[in-house]
């Protein structure tokens, strides 16, 4: 997909609340549910969208609105199946309001529009599949086992659409590849399913309990929620710590200030752009953070006496990392970070992982920019020139796309 014109994206984005809101109002006129209840349901969606949920991957931004969406078709169920028009009306009006809310909080169109389209497509799929299934033995909501198959089918369809739309619809600067986004979603599958189950639970309890269903459905969820939060906090803390420790050479004056941080950000962007899975992206981040940690050895008297090469630093870094459980898996990546991606006469060197190749390019780019005084274009040209053996051409191409999307390659900047 070529880069989208930001104006076109903005125009489409402004069209969204009009189209989706109109869709909602159209179905509201045909709904069996009374307008007041529809309004309550739409408001619940909006309020739910204000409460964010902790996820382990920052590219997944779920809110409790998902639970609300899952609950609505249950609540709008009678003995005659689901009030499909009513459900669609609540979704349409609710999502238009959510768009307005998020836009007013300053979210950019390029981020906002894909999320909102995904929500709409997912909700509609869910409720259409659900109401289509609620026939025959499944027609009446009884609280018995037969309530479950329509919900499970609808949930699976929703998930499939969510992942598909995520993969297809990337607007704005193309820095996140489709494949990465689709796989990132699966990292937080437990959060997504937990939210949907909570919505269904509320829906099941609504008929017998009324508004008591709200606290009671939220009780099991609050437990799951705190678990999600803790999980996320742990990851954040870990990254903070590793990042702090990785800065030791810089604090000691043995490294270049900010080199590790900048290399990490760039390497992660390249990895995401190239479409590797979230696990590899994480590996790239850690390896990049620690790629120069071996520089702590540079104040050893005998090292200063004997001299050292880049390869020595890579080896020392790898040695330090290899000693630490849980991090040893990136030791090899760090070990090979300065090696050429292939030797003459070879297709590629299998010992040099994609992680090493990405770090090699990102670190070299940052070095040329901040130590060599190159402009982004000059630095990129140097990498291109080395793409025969030194730098993996695919990684360099990905870097070019990223720099292009960030408008860093125009000659006026040089």
């Amino acid at each position: 997909m070529a880069d989208w014109n930001p104006r076109a994206v903005a125009a489409l984005s402004w069209l969204y609340p009009i189209a989706v809101g109109g869709f909602g109002l159209y179905f509201a006129s045909r709904a069996a549910t009374d307008p007041f209840t529809l309004l309550v349901a739409a408001t619940a969606l909006v309020l739910g969208s204000l409460v964010g949920v902790a996820t382990s991957n920052a590219d997944n931004r779920f809110t409790t609105g998902l639970a609300g969406a899952a609950a609505i078709p249950f609540v709008f169920s009678g003995n005659q199946g689901v009030d499909l028009a009513g459900t669609l009306a609540a979704y349409g009006v609710g999502l238009a309001a959510v768009w307005a809310l998020r836009y007013s909080r300053g979210e950019g169109h390029a981020e906002l529009l894909p999320v909102m389209i995904r929500r709409f497509a997912g909700y509609v799929t869910y409720t259409v599949v659900y109401s289509a299934m609620r026939v025959g033995p499944f027609q009446t909501l009884t609280g018995d086992w037969v309530d479950l198959p329509p919900f499970i089918a609808a949930l699976v369809a929703w998930l499939a659409v969510e992942v598909m739309v995520r993969a297809m619809l990337v607007l704005g600067p193309r820095e996140l590849s489709r494949s990465y986004l689709a796989r990132a979603m699966l990292q937080d599958l437990n959060v997504f399913v937990g939210l949907a189950l909570t919505g269904a639970l509320f829906g099941e309890l609504w008929a017998p309990l009324g508004w008591w269903a709200l606290p009671i459905a939220l009780l099991p969820y609050s437990f799951a929620h705190s678990a999600f939060r803790r999980f996320q906090q742990t990851k954040v803390t870990y990254k903070q710590t590793i990042r702090a420790l990785a800065r030791i050479p810089e604090v000691s004056g043995l490294g270049v200030d900010g080199h590790a941080d900048r290399t990490t950000a760039l390497a992660a962007a390249i990895a995401k752009e190239m479409g590797v899975g979230p696990a590899i992206v994480e590996q790239v981040e850690f390896a990049a953070l620690m790629h120069d940690i071996g520089r702590v050895s540079l104040n050893e008297p005998q090292v200063l006496r004997m001299g050292y090469t880049d390869d020595d630093i890579a080896r020392w870094s790898a040695e330090i990392i290899a000693e630490s459980p849980f991090m040893e898996r990136v030791a090899d990546d760090v070990r090979h970070q300065y090696e050429a991606y292939r030797k003459p006469g070879e297709q590629e060197d299998p010992a040099i992982s994609i992680v090493s190749r990405i770090i090699k390019v990102a670190a070299a780019y940052d070095w040329k920019l901040h130590q060599g005084g190159s402009t982004p274009l000059q630095a990129l040209e140097a990498l291109h020139a080395g793409a025969a053996y030194e730098y993996d051409p695919e990684v360099v191409a990905s870097l070019r796309r990223i720099l292009g999307a960030r408008h860093l390659l125009s000659p006026s900047r040089a």
């Binding site: 399913v193 017998p208 630490s324």
Partner: protein, 482 residues
């Protein structure tokens, strides 16, 4: 309970060893067992027998549960128990109580069924977790079976007593259920805690499970989980016992628990990774390998003597691990320099106390530890050089004093480039000499007690003065003669 349930020990005393030997081959075998195994049996056998007794009794006296519902909950409970989660140091956290309470409330309220037997059986079965079998533990499951049956039965009795007479099931019962299930969870946690504490004390000889001062954390967690579980059970009944609701609830529980489990695993691996990282970083460039590890060990020894809680111990351990991180940024020749440092060099050395703050500034969870670590060169009387918040004359925190003593002791008892290791005797005498000025007197006392208890000796045995240590380092052949 111990006497009643333990045929071997009581028989031994009343009838004399000879007769027991002849009549009871098990008795002879028992006496041949190692003391550690004997202590374990002393707990496992009576616990197991009492548990079985209570289970049989409750089956005879009370109504059985609704078996179809029971099976669902029992399976879920056993799964949750086998994935129990250690959230805080030594604090095991299990959502099992929530599941048991949901089941118990359902059994207690439903006419024709009681909670006691169903709950006791579920809990008892939950004691058989796969890890125990994999690691060939036989005593733990036996003892756990007993104490879990008793805990479950205690909670079940409370539920039956308070909820058994309910006939009209509507929203009006929610408050009553809330209060009762909280109390029942409290009973469960109390019985469980007392029995486990007794077992640990008998088997390991100490009461080091979880300090009573920290107990409220455990109890608050258990009571909250019990309350939630009870309310869910009531909701299920009020909603007309819909199985779909049960499945959905179980689903959310399961997802939550699995996330918590994943969190605990991640936390553990992260902590060990960070710890390993710190250790290797230091070893890379420190004068001695193992310095931080030893300082951490000494600090924990002192912490134990001063009756620190689990969290405090964790803090002091981490503080000790990072206490010299700033030194990584100090040029190596300075650290290894023989002879005295000049003023400029001393200032540079002093800076390392601040560097640890700079390095770890963004790591929130280490901030309390950073404060301690950066204060480890402050003196008890307010001199020395310290980190942030240190002004001349202010007393450093107790934790900082602990790290200071541990650090000083290890510095003296390990070899330096310019001198040999000094003896433990000498190091302790030095600590005592400066106790009250450089070092916190209570900490020095606690350290001496801890060292005496541990029975280990540090440093070179006969090197009792600094001058001699320096000479020995300069002329290695002296070592042979000395």
């Amino acid at each position: 309970m111990n006497d009643a349930g333990s045929p071997h020990t009581s028989g031994n005393m009343s009838r004399g060893p000879m007769r027991l030997l002849r009549l009871n081959p098990l008795g002879r075998r028992y006496r041949r067992l190692e003391p550690a195994v004997q202590r374990r049996l002393k707990i496992a056998v009576p616990y197991f027998l009492t548990g079985t007794g209570v289970l049989v009794l409750s089956y005879l006296v009370f109504d059985p549960p609704v078996w179809s519902v029971w099976i669902l909950f029992a399976v879920l409970y056993i799964v949750l128990e086998s994935f129990s989660v250690e959230v805080n140091d030594r604090l095991f956290y299990s959502s099992g109580i929530m599941v048991v309470m949901t089941a118990g409330v359902i059994f207690a309220i439903q006419p024709g069924s009681d909670a006691v037997f169903g709950m006791a059986l579920t809990c008892g079965l939950g004691a058989y977790v796969p890890t125990d079998f994999r690691q060939r533990h036989w005593f733990q499951p036996m003892a756990n079976f007993g104490q879990m049956v008793l805990s479950g039965a205690a909670a079940g009795l409370l539920l039956d007593a308070n909820l058994g007479q309910i006939t009209v099931i509507d929203r009006g019962i929610l408050l009553r259920v809330a209060v009762t299930s909280s109390l029942a969870a409290l009973a469960y946690a109390t019985v469980n805690n007392l029995l486990v504490r007794k077992a640990v004390k008998t088997v390991y000889g100490d009461d080091n499970l979880q300090p009573w001062s920290q107990m409220h954390i455990l109890f608050t967690g258990q009571v909250t989980m019990g309350l939630v579980g009870g309310l869910i059970g009531a909701a299920y009944l009020i909603a007309g016992e819909p199985p779909a609701v049960l499945v959905l609830m179980v689903g959310v529980y399961g997802i939550g628990h699995m996330s918590l489990y994943a969190f605990a695993q991640l936390r553990q691996s992260h902590l060990s990774a960070i710890r390993g990282f710190v250790k290797t970083l230091e070893a890379k460039d420190m004068y001695t390998r193992g310095h931080t590890e030893r300082v951490a060990e000494f600090a924990q020894m002192i912490g134990e003597e001063l009756r620190f809680t689990g969290t405090q111990m964790e803090t002091i351990k981490w503080a000790a691990l990072i206490h010299d991180l700033g030194k990584l940024a100090v040029p190596t020749e300075l650290i290894r320099k023989r002879g005295r440092l000049d003023d400029a060099e001393y200032a540079e050395m002093k800076a390392h106390a601040h560097l640890v703050e700079e390095i770890l500034a963004e790591v929130d969870f280490l901030q309390p530890m950073v404060d301690i670590a950066s204060g480890h060169h402050s003196h008890y009387d307010g001199r020395g050089y310290g980190g942030r918040g240190h002004t001349d004359g202010s007393t450093p925190s107790l934790e900082a004093c602990i790290v200071a003593v541990a650090d000083a002791f290890d510095a003296m008892t390990s070899a330096r480039s310019y001198r040999m290791a000094l003896s433990q005797q000498y190091a302790l005498a030095e600590l005592r000499k400066h106790s009250g000025a450089q070092f916190h007197p209570d900490v020095v006392d606690a350290f001496e007690r801890g060292l005496a208890k541990s029975g280990r000796r540090w440093g070179a045995p006969h090197v009792n003065d600094e001058e001699m240590a320096r000479r020995l380092a300069e002329e290695p052949e002296l070592t042979l003669r000395g």
